[in-house]
Symmetry: C2
Subunit: 217 residues, 2 copies
Amino acid sequence: MRPVRRQQLHENVARQLRALILEGALSDGDRIIETALCAQLNVSRTPLREAIKTLTHEGLIEHRPNRGARVTKTTAKEMRQLFEVISGLEMLAAETVAASIKQSEFKRLKSLHDKMAMHHTAGERDEYFALNHQIHLKIVELSGNPILIETHASLMTRARHLRYQALAGQDRWMEAMEEHNGIMKAFEAGDAALAGRLMKQHVRRTGEVVEATFPAP
Amino acid sequence: MRPVRRQQLHENVARQLRALILEGALSDGDRIIETALCAQLNVSRTPLREAIKTLTHEGLIEHRPNRGARVTKTTAKEMRQLFEVISGLEMLAAETVAASIKQSEFKRLKSLHDKMAMHHTAGERDEYFALNHQIHLKIVELSGNPILIETHASLMTRARHLRYQALAGQDRWMEAMEEHNGIMKAFEAGDAALAGRLMKQHVRRTGEVVEATFPAP
DNA sequence: TACGCCTAAATTGTATACAATATACAATGT
DNA sequence: ACATTGTATATTGTATACAATTTAGGCGTA
């Protein structure tokens, strides 16, 4: 039986803060006044400060000593750099997975892929995106490397609120689906090098599109 | 004029804690009693707890709610997984650097490399190690990707106190030097794919050796 | 003896109080 | 009017106090 999930206040606060940032209630560059947020969230400063520290490590918040915290201002360039690192990690994951994936795991992945393809043809944007994200996550998970999974997750948090923009254009949408098809084929063939190369290209390309469609400063 | 470095107490505490762990004053699995450490370090619990949170994010400490913190027990397997992720990141760095390194930067890197080779032939272990580490760091830095640099640094912290074991054997020492030679040649030739491949192999191999020489549980 | 239940001590989590630092703005002199 | 300094206010950093939870051990009972 799996152990009960023990919650700490600062975890909830961190989650809420993350949500506030990702959904835009707090926008880039906004200063975070501890006491004000405390009142709003109805917690004391201690757990809030712990949450701020957490988000700082995730890169969503910047914190200068004695000058308080601000929501990180993300530039187009940083976005590309972020996706570049993610591409390196997902490449590693894809290689590992392609080399060792079990039949049953592949089937499960394939079913996700097929479902995504369906939504793609149907033009159902939100469902397509959700599955896309799930697939990338699944592949990293299948690597079986907890450190890889955790590192990846942390970086993805920063990229997340931009995912919609990423595939905004119809062209890229088409292209991305094609790339996913290629990756699945490489998995099926057990071609690790190919799977890795394709995945890297795919993520990197996504990063480039995000960079291009980024709101000009 | 560059701004004065503003220190926070919890940063110093974090540094000291890290040192305590890396030099073995606190060993794997040791419980960390907050009040005891506070007395020892002469700070209150607040900054210590912040430091603990920092090291938790770095993976040096594990923290279960209401049950306190423990120094992470690192298994051989986790070490290999750690190096695997690092290999992915350094591969990315090597590729980027090989494709775009400037003459002056290459010269500086080469001089580090040559100095390392010297210490290698002279059998000066400590100096060799220090330079080895510096070179890997330098290559990642030259990528010019802050996110890559930071992610890499964070993972390296966990691998650091095991670096000595890693190249313990004379055989591996020889091998590693050879691999470094190959990487430098790839840089010189501007062959990104080769540099990346070699770097990945090099780091992965290091991880395997670390895993093998790991004290049995 | 082994097991469960209860209580006390230890320890961690959260809130608050106090100290240090930064920011904003007025007063002063040039 | 402008720059500079001094002072008040706001805000963050650290210490401490209090609450909640876990851990350890004693006691009785089967």
